[in-house]
């Protein structure tokens, strides 16, 4: 091999390794735990935007931007998830209790069959808005790692309170849930 060919080969190899390192860095930077990580560090990041089809109307869509200025509880769930069944009545109760104060609960049904989700809402008498995210496209941005998970968004569109992992009505999460609701309403103690 001539000296020139060897030099070209070395440059090519170094370039390939550099490209792989850049790709690795990009992947690590974009593979974080979403806004949940920031929230855990005490920050109040903007709630990631989404626009998803409503479960009860095939052509209707709902986005977080539609609820600008309102406190929102965002609940990620799936019909096959057992703790989701346990907490559904408590979420419905919250919605009914604080609705007059402008609070909205949005359920994001992810990685689920649409028909199963419809059956779930009927069975548990859910009347708050449910959107369908079959592919789970929102999970990464929010940093959701399992179901159910619940986030609180204040009137400024920022995440407040704690991210609730697991049922909101469990002994472990009850206090954090109550505080999250108050924080979303702007009545944090």
């Amino acid at each position: 091999m001539t000296g020139r060919a060897r030099t070209v080969g070395q440059i090519f190899a170094i370039g390939a390794v550099a490209l792989l390192l850049v790709l690795l860095g990009w992947k690590l930077a974009h593979n974080s735990g979403g806004v949940a990580d920031d929230l855990a560090k005490g920050k109040h990041p903007a709630a990631p935007a989404f626009e998803l089809s409503r479960l009860d109307a095939a052509d209707g869509k709902l986005s977080l931007a539609d609820l600008k200025g309102k406190p929102v509880i965002v609940n990620f769930w799936a019909s096959w998830c057992i703790p989701c069944k346990d907490e559904a009545p408590a979420l419905q109760k919250t919605y009914e209790k604080y609705r007059a104060q402008g609070l909205t609960v949005i359920g994001i049904d992810a990685q689920d069959f649409r028909g199963d989700a419809k059956g779930f809402t009927k069975r548990f008498g859910v009347t708050y808005p449910i959107v369908y995210d079959g592919s789970g496209s929102t999970l990464g941005k929010w940093g959701v790692t399992g179901f159910p998970e619940t986030f609180f968004v204040d009137r400024q569109g920022r995440l407040v309170g704690e991210r609730i992992q697991g049922g909101i009505d469990t002994e472990r999460n009850k206090a954090a849930y109550a505080e999250g609701v108050q924080a979303a309403l702007g009545q944090a103690q």
Partner: protein, 149 residues
């Protein structure tokens, strides 16, 4: 003879249509569909949604759907990432073509390197055959002759 040939062709055609109309196999589909929560194929997963998807497949097979129809329904619910293999069309076709292209480039590069090295070795052998100094050659001949005597 002609009748025999015609009968053979008809039998082949019938066999072909029977294969085409064969219902999809549950095991095949479970190996071709990915569980959305655990990212493994359904046959490797015991998650609740995987169990639900297996039931869905069983019900659709019983209803007479083809494999493509069942896959299309699952893609409609869970998105294209639910397929273990990307579809062979559009942008996803790249996933099939790029490895082949990389293989072809690799073969060309290895071939070119092997050719270059073989050429260098050949030229190296020639270079290692220097003309013997006449005086040295004479002395070697004399020494060899002495040993032969």
């Amino acid at each position: 003879m002609i009748r025999l040939l015609a009968a053979g062709l008809a039998a082949l055609a019938l066999a072909g249509s029977a294969v085409a109309a064969a219902p999809p196999r549950q095991a095949d589909l479970e190996a071709e569909i990915v569980c959305p929560t655990c990212k493994t194929t359904l046959d490797m997963s015991t998650s609740p949604i995987a169990a639900r998807m297996k039931t869905f497949i069983r019900v659709r097979i019983a209803a007479g759907d083809s494999a493509e129809q069942i896959k299309a329904q699952l893609v409609d619910q869970f998105g294209p990432a639910v397929l273990a293999e990307p579809p062979k069309r559009g942008f996803d076709l790249l996933a099939w073509l790029l490895p082949l292209a990389a293989l072809a480039v690799g073969i060309v590069v290895v071939g070119a390197l092997a050719w270059t090295w073989s050429r260098r070795r050949d030229s190296g052998v020639e270079a290692r055959e220097p003309d013997l100094d006449p005086d040295l050659e004479r002395r070697v001949d004399e020494e060899l002759a002495r040993y032969e005597d």
